[in-house]
Symmetry: C3
Subunit: 203 residues, 3 copies
């Protein structure tokens, strides 16, 4: 392979996240998962049924680990889907994280309210986050992938009797009707974080 061919390959091969960036996404996801999950557990939105594993704050240890892995995976998916947008702004990243944690908290606060307005609110907030952060098709794919895989994993967790959703918020195969919207916002936010991590290299 000539140097020119290697150069071309380098131009078209997707950018990859570096180990430190993957670790950053893992930690952000794990801490965010702990905060959001504590709100779900304390409000009774969800209940852990199995105490075979150690607990961290209000979560079974495996929960923040799974969220951290999902966060790193969606970050990689985002870069695999196309070149990231340039431009680094730490404030955008902080606000993106805050927005999905705010939605997470709202789900806990509305879980025992009427399902239609509660779900409508979460869906609309997720759409607002997606419109705000933008990112086009790659961001939407990350959001849809998270909205599909996340709730499916939680349905399996419920089926395995490891945890359950409140009877007031379990109408989607045992999980909450608003759960895909929460995961959609999560996926869109993580896609933006991956872009920002790459853009930070040049800043």
């Amino acid at each position: 392979m000539s140097a020119i061919e290697r150069g071309r390959l380098r131009d078209t091969a997707p950018v990859r996240l570096r180990p430190g960036e993957l670790a950053t996404l893992f930690v952000i996801g794990a801490i965010g998962g702990l905060i959001g999950d504590a709100g779900h557990v304390q409000s009774g939105t969800t209940v852990y049924l199995d105490d075979a594993t150690p607990f961290v704050w209000k979560s079974a240890l495996w929960f923040p680990v799974l969220v951290g892995l999902a966060t790193a995976s969606i970050g990689e998916l985002r870069l695999w889907l196309g070149p990231p947008r340039p431009g680094y702004d730490a404030r955008v990243g902080i606000a993106a994280i805050a927005s999905v944690l705010a939605i997470y908290a709202v789900t806990a606060l509305v879980h025992d309210q009427a399902e239609v307005p509660g779900t409508t609110l979460i869906v609309m907030l997720a759409i607002l986050v997606a419109c705000w952060l933008g990112g086009g098709t790659p961001a939407i794919i990350c959001g849809v992938a998270a909205a599909a895989v996340g709730p499916l994993a939680e349905v399996i967790i419920v089926e395995l009797d490891l945890a359950m959703y409140s009877p007031l918020a379990d109408s989607l195969f045992g999980v909450a009707l608003w759960l895909p919207a929460l995961y959609f916002a999560f996926g869109v936010v993580v896609a933006r974080l991956a872009e920002l991590l790459v853009a930070r290299r040049a800043s």
Copy 2:
């Protein structure tokens, strides 16, 4: 009339919405009305007292029809008030619709809470939407017109015993104190949608 006179007239005559654009606004309003109203009915914010007309989801058929007509009318009002702003961005339109549906959902969720903080929240959210979407005097006029006509129409609906607001949310002549703020946000959002529909012609 000479060609020059006709040209001048064309320059000053207001842009009008085309039939397809009016139909688009009607459909957006009708669907949005159905979603918001389902939240109101399910949460007990409002109750239909008359079942003489068919129901669609949780709404009497005339409700989404009225909201659809109001949406198309406010769109026309916006263009009659002055030339629309240029620039088409589908994301702005989607986010504008999502923002008013989010506020609609919040009204259902707070209808049985203390009236001052609930109303304060809705008013402030409506102000935030107006500041965000901008549009100056025409948008404000559309918002104020909706805030006046919409609640008045609902007061008449309540007086006709077709529907009622929860006793916890009926302190404004039988309708909710936050209702004008919700309609204000609705009017401002529809004004923006009308502008976007015209701007889309050139895009």
Copy 3:
């Protein structure tokens, strides 16, 4: 002192708020405090225990006075911390005020809900406001100063038996756990208002 020295002094001396601008901040703070406090009192988030002073709406007279003085003081602090950002936009100021009053209302609405998601929501909303309004270190200092002094003053008010927080929202030395986040948003917003007031002079 030569004219050149006076010129240099003028270049480095901090901009000060004029009496009318301080009065504007005082009035904005006092009215905002009255609206937010009415929500707290009506929802039972807080209770006044002392009726030795006259009441305005639902607040003891000293409350809006204190908030007004705090607003003017933080405005002065902002200018003392560095030159204000240029650019006047009334909509930013209105939206900034609306955002902190919205958060204030949300605190009243969630005060009797589970503490973790309620506090998470308020903290994230405060972070979102700070990211949106920006302003760098001076704004952050104003926010942190407000987050320290405000709750401390309220702890003293509670200790003096002038008022109390609901037993459901008094876990931070007798005041609510979300109170520093609300004051942080307040401080950041007032910092922006001070900048806008100075920028308005040139507009």
